[in-house]
Symmetry: C2
Subunit: 113 residues, 2 copies
């Protein structure tokens, strides 16, 4: 799939209030995540994965939490990186937010539905 036209590809529901659209090659995956259930009182439970991750905040505001790092208030245009294996999570500060997450290698768990 060389392109993903937003208006032509349906969302995949992750859970209530979170939908995604995925594009990938063999070792690189990018996931558009649209959140609609913010703001949150609590952060999501921290998690970790062996994949490296970068994220671009395309809409909204979040707090990004990463093991051994100070909490970061991020907004549209900001980016973060997650090293392999590091515990991390976010908290939404706005009703809606869009994150564009990239991973290497592929998050195969995202393709097994």
């Amino acid at each position: 799939m060389p392109v993903l036209k937003f208006d032509e590809i349906p969302y995949e529901a992750v859970r209530k209030g979170l939908q995604r659209k995925i594009i990938h090659e063999k070792e690189l995956m990018t996931v558009l995540l649209d959140f609609t259930d913010g703001p949150w009182e609590e952060k999501e439970p921290p998690h970790h994965h062996p994949h490296e991750q970068t994220s671009y905040i395309a809409k909204g505001e979040i707090i990004f939490y990463c093991e051994d790092e100070p909490d970061q208030h991020l907004k549209e245009g900001d980016m973060f990186v997650v090293p392999s294996g590091k515990m991390h999570t976010i908290k939404l500060l706005t009703k809606e937010a869009r994150l564009v997450d990239s991973f290497t290698p592929l998050r195969r768990d995202f393709l097994e539905k």
Copy 2:
């Protein structure tokens, strides 16, 4: 560098009309590219690299050209992927555009300045 706050990190000039900000880990790099010299009459010369690439169109409209694929008119919210070694390029259709490009492995040529 776990985060890149847009307002705190200066652009790096790529050329007149194109500036970027880069975040990366060991095998994954994401590059925020802000174009301000569109629209273009011609596409940029096609190029290729061994790195896999994904791109998110954060602002503006482009035509995406990729070897062996039909030309694609893309706008905010759309994404494209470039397999390793494939010739590809873009043409800007709007004055301004923002692309968020991810690469694996690292584009070391982007870090050698």
